[in-house]
Symmetry: C2
Subunit: 220 residues, 2 copies
Amino acid sequence: MKPKLSKPRPKQDTAQRIRAAADELFCGRGFAAVSVQDIAHQARVQKALVFYHFGSKEALFEQILEGYYQAHRDALATAYAGAGTVRERLHRMIDAYLTFMADHARYAALIQQQVGSPETHPLIERNLAPLFTWIEQALAELTPASGPLAPRHFFLTFSGTVINYFTYAPLLAPLWGSDPTAAAALDERRRHVHWLVDTVLDALTAARPPRPRSGQSSRG
Amino acid sequence: MKPKLSKPRPKQDTAQRIRAAADELFCGRGFAAVSVQDIAHQARVQKALVFYHFGSKEALFEQILEGYYQAHRDALATAYAGAGTVRERLHRMIDAYLTFMADHARYAALIQQQVGSPETHPLIERNLAPLFTWIEQALAELTPASGPLAPRHFFLTFSGTVINYFTYAPLLAPLWGSDPTAAAALDERRRHVHWLVDTVLDALTAARPPRPRSGQSSRG
DNA sequence: CTCGGGCTTGACCGAATGGTCAAATAACTG
DNA sequence: CAGTTATTTGACCATTCGGTCAAGCCCGAG
């Protein structure tokens, strides 16, 4: 009648409390501006416990970052994997992206802060690469393979359109007089991005034959 | 025959050396991750000189940030101020934005890093507000006043499209196998953004009468 | 020359940093 | 119960942090 396995760990939540505290602080202030003391205090835990459970401040940070990236990647992979036309799948991916960002509001700030620091580049690259590959594949049949309308550009354009909204949300709140992350505002943004995707895809398909049949592009 | 005024300051470049060193380091690693020692070492200068010339680490940082913002704002203001149609002025503004970012490659990382820290919000807001106002004015006659196609959304979309390219450039280099900030790549990006602006404006003007005359939108 | 003030230096400060450790405690196993 | 292991504690470490200070340097002015 043991409801738990051989490792019940009644106080296992300690690590989780530390993780949660670190998550919030890192996202709000960035890696360097947060001390282990801060994290321990926020988690109402002894500082040494942070090192006991995670080894070092860097390891804790990378664990949090990795978790975020994995959740993000999985969310987009699920959205992309389903059936439907390329356009439908792209819309689903945009939706998933927006939803994920809305659910993890501070994630945007975190990655934007960390993109600049060379030591975390391998970690980011490892998680960014599949995203990049998906978009390239999805757009391959709609856009030229190279040049200003190549998939890579739309990848950056769409991802920037989504992420920039959340990056600047805290700054825009006072300018707008309302919270950009509120449900209504988010839905409006969602419709904007969908409109943009449709407009772009319409323009792309109008410019070239609807189905070139031969996937090879001769480069304009 | 004095070539200089009452303040020749043969070693005036010290402050400039410190500024340059701080600029590079702050942009590369962010405020918190850079120590005054680092700055002094990079500038080949005694640490105390940093405090003599700038008072504090924060003051030095804000001076650099302010300088960047002012140059950025001025560049966009000049581009926007000229004659021409709204479309032409928008294209000029995009061009100025891209050029400024290319000339100050690390600026993108800096502001993205700082957007998240509440203490610099007033500084950023002060410099972001006019930008926001310009775009809203410029787009007012082309887009609905509210809803998913309101000017504010296009402001975020276009600025994200520009800035995101530079934010992710260091990460994309290994993925692409070439430097996204090289002249050829930048020109391609420039054409992409111009294509996007034209496509969006075409769609907006096609959807509604070319000149609604009455600026009031009934919101869909 | 002397004077005086803007630079520059290097030593110094208290506080905070990331990290360690031995000892104490809690929890589970036999 | 004893024995073992996982967890927790608080003191402790060396280093670095942002910042100060008094003394010296270098300069042009008188």
